[in-house]
């Protein structure tokens, strides 16, 4: 395997006494889109939070571009170019769409997409530019959260269930955006419940169960493996 862009080795993460991630390891190469799949509550979100330092792992190692970033403060990881778009999005609801983007731009270490790029790819955000963060739909919030990562110099985009709770039409729109971002060379780690949606864009996928990786392969290998599918994903 070529040198890993992100390498996660033997992560052990706890919430208090409950041991959530158990010696979890995986790798992502530069430019790859990797899907992290698994049933409810198996530790997908916790994996993302451990990578960015939101919930620092108790042991193990996270390296990004060869640099040890284990448990490093979230803000510093953001500045290195690791951007998490969490399930709850966490955009600023008291700021307008435009201000949210502007703020991300001025706090970026290096510029990423221009505001015009964003508006070209997310015409809905341009229409809603002067609406506040709590006056836009769930899909628009998701787009804003992704766009906010893009105007910064994001190198690794971590997406936690970006299509969750969205209407089918909007789901397709968000999927198209992810494909577009991917085609521009972004490295993406995608957490999804929506198995079909994830396999449609991923280059490789991992299945996590009870805090460890149970399967690694290409989307085709996974589609052909009915045993793994029924055992870990109930499909």
């Amino acid at each position: 395997m070529a040198e890993a862009f992100l390498e996660v080795e033997n992560l052990n993460t706890y919430y208090g006494d409950s041991h959530i991630l158990k010696d979890l390891s995986f790798k992502i190469r530069r430019g790859e889109t990797v899907a992290l799949l698994g049933r409810n509550g198996v530790g997908k979100t916790t994996t993302l939070k451990s990578i960015v330092g939101w919930v620092p792992p108790r042991s193990g190692r996270v390296s990004f571009e060869g640099r040890n970033v284990t448990g490093q403060e979230m803000m510093k990881n953001a500045r290195l170019g690791i951007s998490l778009v969490p399930e709850e999005r966490r955009i600023f609801t008291n700021l307008t769409v435009f201000e949210n983007l502007k703020l991300a731009t001025v706090t970026a270490q290096k510029p990423g997409w221009s505001l015009q790029d964003v508006y070209d790819h997310f015409p809905r955000l341009q229409e809603r530019a002067t609406n506040k963060g709590d006056e836009i739909s769930g899909g628009e919030k998701q787009m804003l959260a992704i766009a906010r990562a893009l105007v910064q110099d994001t190198k690794l985009l971590l997406l936690d269930e970006p299509t969750e709770g969205l209407a089918p039409l909007i789901v397709r729109e968000v999927e198209a955006i992810i494909r577009e971002i991917k085609s521009k060379g972004m490295t993406i780690l995608l957490v999804e419940q929506n198995f079909y949606s994830a396999l449609a864009v991923a280059d490789r996928c991992y299945i996590i169960d009870q805090g460890t990786i149970k399967f690694e392969g290409t989307p085709d290998q996974l589609r052909g493996n009915t045993e793994v599918l029924s055992r870990y994903l109930h499909v």
Binding site: W54, E73, M74, M75, K76, A78, R79, S83, L84, P86, E88, R90, I91, F92, T93, N94, L95, E99, K102, L103, A104, V106, T107, A108, Q109, R148, A149, Q152
Partner: protein, 345 residues
């Protein structure tokens, strides 16, 4: 009580209330951004007033040495907390804030103080001495505790308060001081004789409230401060340093405290420990606003000023008791209402 006395007491109440309003706004601001219940707010008032009064006498206020000492402590703290990430720009920024600026202010004060250049220059010098103290205290005492609970931060705040009162005694001595007013003008308004200083106080309060409103309501920087205050995680996700927000909030707290001190210095005799009671009244108002609402806090502050002034007329011995008893029903009401505002989800 006749109408004339009523009006005079009201005037007194509103003027004092304006000062409490400034302090209340500062307390709400600091709490919103950093979750620190900033007990030492009043010390900045005392330091501002005493520095200004000393400058007014053409002498050098010893608070410049306090500023330099705080600067030295902040330098050490900054070097330690940033030891892993310190590069050249970060070092330059740290030193300019903790060493260069305090030294420059001290130098300027040593040079200008004996010249007695008038109230405006003296007021600006007093502000320049005390404002950065807010920022330096944040670096020394609160930035290292940024992720601590509200209770731990409160304990730290009490510690800072006690330390500053002690330092106040060392640097200013036990005697009180009073400064000359900004203007000796006096306006007659029906039965009221309004001293020019009262108008300065009301004017500055209004100006500062409008300024804060414009800053937080209309500039990206101000909005970002508010946004990071309610959504800390969101801020960290996009790499907004929440420590910068804390420094700005504490800098503003230092400025507002110092300005309040300069404004009241001509009206009352201020001692090294006078700040606490003044700050506490601002605190009462801030609590009434639930430590989150600026307009309620400002209105409550004016009310506190009026309660105080009427209480001092009817039962001056119990004035403070009456003022602080007002807070009890408010706390009851607040606790009966829904819980404290949580972080935005």
């Amino acid at each position: 009580m006749d109408a004339d006395i009523f009006l005079i007491l009201l005037q007194d109440g509103v003027v004092n209330g304006a000062i409490y309003a400034l302090l209340a706004l500062s307390l709400v601001l600091v709490f919103a951004v950093t979750r620190v219940i900033f007990i030492p707010q009043g010390e900045f008032v005392a330091f501002g007033a005493l520095s200004y009064a000393t400058l007014d006498l053409g002498r050098t206020p010893r608070s410049i040495w306090l500023l330099l000492a705080l600067g030295a402590a902040a330098t050490v703290c900054g070097l330690w907390t940033q030891r892993r990430t310190l590069n050249r720009t970060a070092l330059a920024m740290l030193l300019s804030e903790t060493a260069v600026f305090p030294l420059a202010v001290a130098g300027l004060v040593l040079w200008l103080a004996p010249l007695k250049l008038g109230v405006a220059v003296e007021a600006i010098l007093a502000l320049a001495i005390v404002t950065p103290m807010g920022l330096l205290i944040y670096r020394v005492a609160f930035q290292p505790l940024a992720e601590a609970s509200v209770l731990v931060l409160l304990i730290a705040a009490v510690g800072v308060h006690l330390a500053l009162v002690g330092l106040g005694l060392v640097f200013f001595g036990p005697e009180g001081s009073r400064a000359t007013a900004f203007s000796s003008a006096n306006f007659t308004l029906g039965p009221l004789s309004v001293p020019g200083q009262a108008l300065w106080i009301l004017g500055f309060t209004a100006l500062l409230i409008v300024g804060l409103y414009l800053f937080f309501g209309f500039t990206l920087h101000g909005k970002a401060l508010r946004a990071t205050a309610v959504n800390r995680l969101g801020a960290r996700l996009v790499g907004i340093p929440t420590a910068d927000a804390g420094r700005i909030a504490f800098g503003l707290a230092g400025f507002i405290g110092a300005l309040s001190g300069v404004l009241i210095a001509p009206l009352t005799t201020v001692y090294y420990d006078s700040g606490f009671l003044i700050g506490l009244k601002g605190f009462v108002a801030a609590i009434v606003g639930g430590l989150v609402s600026y307009p309620i806090a400002a209105t409550a502050a004016i009310a506190v000023g009026c309660v105080e002034s009427f209480a001092s007329f009817w039962a001056s011995a119990f004035k403070e008791v009456i003022v602080f008893s007002v807070i009890v029903p408010v706390l009851l009401w607040l606790s009966l209402r829904s819980g404290a505002p949580a972080e935005e989800e």
